[in-house]
Amino acid sequence: MATLEIKDLHVSVNTDEGSKEILKGVDLTINAGETHAIMGPNGSGKSTLSYAIAGHPKYEITSGSVLLDGENVLDMTVDERARAGLFLAMQYPVEVPGVSMSNFLRTAATAVRGEAPKLRHWVKEVKEAMSDLDIDPAFAERSVNEGFSGGEKKRHEILQLGLLKPKIAILDETDSGLDVDALRVVSEGVNRFKQSGDVGVMLITHYTRILKYISPDFVHVFATGRIVESGGPELADQLEAEGYVKYIGKQEAASIG
């Protein structure tokens, strides 16, 4: 049973005007088998939370801790965190010219699994995983994320999620920029991952629409750098109806249209 424990996490980012604190004491525990939706208005620090956990060098942890099964994640390098079982599906996946998707996936799987997957099984595994996400097999030979549409990038993030099989997955606005069909395909991918084992999911989103496909066990409202309210799925319904006005003092809708 995997557990991710975030305790009193404070994170700053260095800007031209000096260091600026973005996360101001985040406490959250995610157990395997649970899906936590983190919902909040723009600029509340949701993405910072995901990047800080993954270890992006831009963010400085000033205090607090992040433990994965009792191990201090913050002492690990970015790749060590991934190999320990953390996965971040990024809001803006990075293009890596000249590195083919197939080479990248195999290199990553080899690193995470500790040995190179047997070629014959691997080819089949990738093919099926791509087909499940309606990804054209031709993408395997294209450079990582290069020239992909927003939706194609998100599908490939979920493809990696399925192949790397982390213990805890953090999905940073995976729903943003997706049309209805893509949202359904991507959500089904996340649900397959959830059903594949004892895994935990942190689903970061601004809007409630993805929660119609991926049902959360817990919903947390994130505002001004910390969790300000926690509850069950009913909290999402309340946000859908009322928006974030109660938390930030101005109207910002959580529903679309």
């Binding site: 390098t77 190999r83 890596v96 690193a111």
Partner: protein
């Protein structure tokens, strides 16, 4: 670290930039007025302030620019398939010098000083297996001059690999005469020992509808300065110049391409990519393209990218595009020099790939489009291994 990029966008009007106006001392000159001569004494001894020498460390040239006498000979070994004719000829052979005229003092010095030349003739109307020419330097402290002439006859289809190795100072002219309708692929590898100084001019002359694929790979040597010049003698010529270079601490690797479009409906494409690492690693790319008034329907593009892997390295990149006619298909250039992209590194590491492996993936990816186009598998494999070794050397 100093990274210099001089870069401009172009319009379709006649213009010149990046050259004389940068120094402020000389009047703005067109590449069309560039002086050429077979006579070494027609060139003044360059001091290093001249436009075409301003990036070159003159003190490290072993006096190739200042009348250094030959003290040895480079060994030229040709492995040619059946049908390809290989000859060693004297200075008086009438075929020599037809592809181009030396455009700087070292090229003229090499022309004046070589004693024998190697002539490789690729049979016309036939497809030949690859020919490999291995040139080994005369040895540390030695000075040598050479001349190589490659002629692909009408409708020939051939690949020539020129492999430079060993020690010493070496200046030479290499000619490529590409006959009408011929298809010549050249891979020139500069894999010299650490002491070597190599100053080389490549002169390619393309016949009507000729195709020329020229790839330069520069990895080893203290100073390497390569000047590939392409001219067209008929319509429909198509030149692609690719370059890959990797400079380590203290190395100076300079490439100066010049495409002279004087005939109509010809094409050219120049893509040079370099990586640099270590203290005082220095690379220079000067890309000159001249589209003369008669060269209507020209299509040309040139691109240079540099990847700076460590502090202390410097990449200079200067594209120059001169257009004397508005009646062209297209013309463009791009140049960029950047540091390692930390976002790419983060993304790969976030998928569990260790940092050193992630760096290698990115550098290999950077060179990928050039490596992909190297038509000779053995050469491609050797280069991939060489790039791996370069990366391992500094623990990148």
């Amino acid at each position: 670290m100093a990274v210099t990029t001089e870069q401009q966008q172009h319009g379709l009007t006649a213009h010149s930039h990046g050259r004389a106006e940068k120094t402020g001392s000389a009047p703005i000159s067109s590449r069309a007025d560039h002086f050429t001569s077979f006579d070494v004494n027609a060139f003044e001894v360059p001091g290093g302030r001249e436009e075409i020498w301003r990036f070159t460390p003159m003190k490290r040239l072993a006096n190739l620019h200042n009348g250094a006498e030959a003290t040895g000979k480079a060994a030229v070994d040709v492995k040619a398939p059946e049908g390809v004719v290989v000859e060693t000829v004297g200075r008086d052979d009438a075929r020599l010098g037809v592809a181009g005229t030396p455009g700087d003092r070292v090229a003229a010095q090499a022309w004046s000083a070589f004693t024998e030349a190697t002539v490789v003739t690729l049979p016309g109307d036939a497809k030949s297996e690859p020919t490999t020419i291995t040139v080994t330097g005369a040895g540390e402290g030695q000075v040598a001059y050479g001349h190589l002439h490659v002629h692909a006859k009408q409708f020939a289809e051939a690949v020539v690999v020129i492999d430079h190795r060993g020690s010493g100072a070496y200046a030479d002219n290499v000619e490529f005469v590409v006959g009408d309708g011929a298809h010549l692929t050249v891979v020139a590898i500069q894999d010299w020992a650490d002491d070597a100084v190599h100053v080389s001019s490549h002169h390619a002359k393309l016949g009507r509808d000729a195709t020329f694929r020229h790839t330069v790979i520069t990895l080893g040597g203290n100073v390497v300065r390569l000047t590939p010049v392409v001219t067209y003698s008929g319509r429909g010529g198509d030149a692609e110049l690719l370059g890959l270079y990797f400079a380590d601490a203290g190395q100076h690797l300079e490439h100066r391409t010049f495409i002279d479009h004087a005939e109509s409906n010809c094409r050219s494409n120049v893509v040079y990519k370099g990586a640099l690492q270590g203290e005082d690693a220095h690379t220079v790319w000067i890309g000159d393209v001249l589209i003369r008034a008669a060269a209507q329907g020209t299509e040309t593009f040139e691109l240079n990218r540099n990847l700076v892997l460590t502090d202390g390295a410097r990449a200079d990149s200067v594209p120059n595009l001169e257009i004397e006619t508005g009646e062209i298909e297209g013309a463009g250039h791009a140049s960029a020099t950047g540091r390692f992209d930390d976002e790419q590194l983060f993304y790969l590491q976030a998928r569990g790939i260790p940092e050193d492996q992630a760096r290698r993936l990115v550098v290999r990816g950077f060179f990928h489009e050039i490596l992909l186009k190297i038509a000779v598998p053995e050469v491609r494999e050797r280069l991939e291994a060489a790039i791996e070794a370069e990366l391992e050397a500094v623990g990148v």
